[in-house]
Amino acid sequence: MMRAGPSQEEIRRHNLGVLLRHVHLGGPTSRAELTSRMGVNRSTIMALTADLTAAGLVREELPKETGRAGRPSLVVRPESARVYVFAFDVGVDRVVAARVGLGGVILDRRDAPRERGPFDLEALTAQLAGFAHQMLRDTAPDAVCVGAAAAIAGGVRAADGMVKYGPNLGAFDVPFGEELARRLDIGLPVAVGNDANLGALAEHTRGVGVGCNDLIYLHGDVGIGGGVIVGGQLLSGHAGYGGEVGHMVVNPGGRLCGCGSRGCLEAEVGERTVLEAAGRAGGDRVGRDAIRAVVEAADRGDVAAQRALQRVGDWLGVGVANLINIFNPEMVIFGGMLRDIFLGSAAQVRSRIAISALAASREGVRLRTSALGDDATLTGAAELAFAGVLADPLEALARVTSN
């Protein structure tokens, strides 16, 4: 039996999502431009825009300035102040909660340092939910929350958002999303994603990797996470743990890793190794500050710091060369503390790539630092939270407003 083609209604729903995504990612866009980008006719764009406007998702306005003569095409802009999500980011040394408007605008945020030590699910989720409730108080009564999501430095099971492992957070088998949703108590689930995967998504949609369908984002936050985008799709793997390039073994029998193995990329390039190699382990500085201090010391001529950076740069180059050979990416992005490490050891990193990566693959690869910086993972969480409303705007809106 042949499957029937999509119904008119299915096509309309699909197009509503496509249009909303254009405006969400591209900002205010004229009807004329939407018409040509979506390849549908003007009257279809008008009908779709009318539906989205009626739902309060977008607003139509005359453009501020027009260079051309004639009747200006109306500009469709996202209702950023009205439609928003909650995004959370749990890093090793920092937690963030933010209210992010449609269009990707961070409307409000709360940042707090995180103490290193055992993972305290109760305290963490209470803190994050508390931040969200504070922000909720300053929200206009007609504003609608259409989703919530969190980025976390750990491996997340795709099926249920369970954080299976997060050695650098001390988190194992933690029902983080479930608990956060319970405390948040706004009738929405909290989607959870690996921080580097979400960083990859963010750089792909809003950062340095826009228009780049094959990219790898490497996120340094004590350890090293990886997010791999292949053909425009985030690689998740069978159960959701794909792309863990930090646990690629580059040096069998090498340094002990937090995961229990030895010689993982993260063990050879991570924060502990940098600080130990620079003779700064056990100091009072940790995290990004400590890494930056090493790069600064190397710049001032500190020989131990220079050797430490050469060493980790070399291993980082080994890791990236392997990734280049396996994935043939168009771009490799260094984020988190890897931005500082890459810039401080790029000669080493690229020398190793020149030696070890296949010429055909390495010649086209662009090495870049994150454009979203410290907000890459948070931005990715926001995008994850917006996924529902972008997939089927009216249906998603109906769901949240009926609560």
Partner: protein, 287 residues
Amino acid sequence: MSETTSTDLGVTPAGRGAPGSGPSDDARPILELRGVNKSFGPVHVLHDVSFAAYAGEVTALVGDNGAGKSTLVKCIGGIHPIDSGEYLFEGKPVNVHSPRDAAALGIEIVYQDLALCDNLDIVQNMFLGRERKNGIVLDEDTMEQMAAKTLQGLSVRTVKSLRQPVSSLSGGQRQTVAIAKAVLWNSKVVILDEPTAALGVAQTAQVLELVRRLADQGLAVVLISHNMNDVFAVSDRIAALYLGRMAAQVKASDVTHAQVVELITAGRSGDLGLTNGNGGAEGKEAP
């Protein structure tokens, strides 16, 4: 390998790949010099120098002190007329006799000393010497809008007010203003003479990211730097000058740090660079 680094492995990438398979191999340079000579009186500074810069790419120009980097850049910028050789822009021979000629082609140079006026604000500095273009006199509001748009287009967020005097800015912010000034008029080639030399690590990182962004937006960028990490962090090609001769212009993905250091200090590295007894100093391409 723990204590060994790739720069002293003695391994070179030569011969590992098919030559000339890179994406930009067929690309035509936007700016090209061929066999350029330049002397100051009896001092012959540039010897048959060839050099190319490509749209969308960062080309690093490296060499020891006195190798002739600044002189080459000043020849490109029309400050020093060349004695002999060809100067091509977008494939066509051009005559560049003054900075005005260079600017008319869309070539801008940010010199080491930046030449900003401390007592003027950011907007005034960005339009200094340019208040009139094509006979149009710009009013202050338009200038401020253009300055703001340029800085925004470069994703520069570190400057608080466009009306603060340049004297109140950090070294990195001054460099940023100088670069923004260079790209304000839709320039096509931007040349930066040691933009990070006087900066700390954090500001260097910001300037390097700005340099990369300029190229990613389609400009041809030439970056002079002594810092090999800076060079390898952002460049697509590396041109090494040695005693006034172009030792080699290679793709950054094809060479190691050790090879570039050899090109700088000895003019050659393996089969790269100047050949012995070569008076004409033909720069050989990378394998």
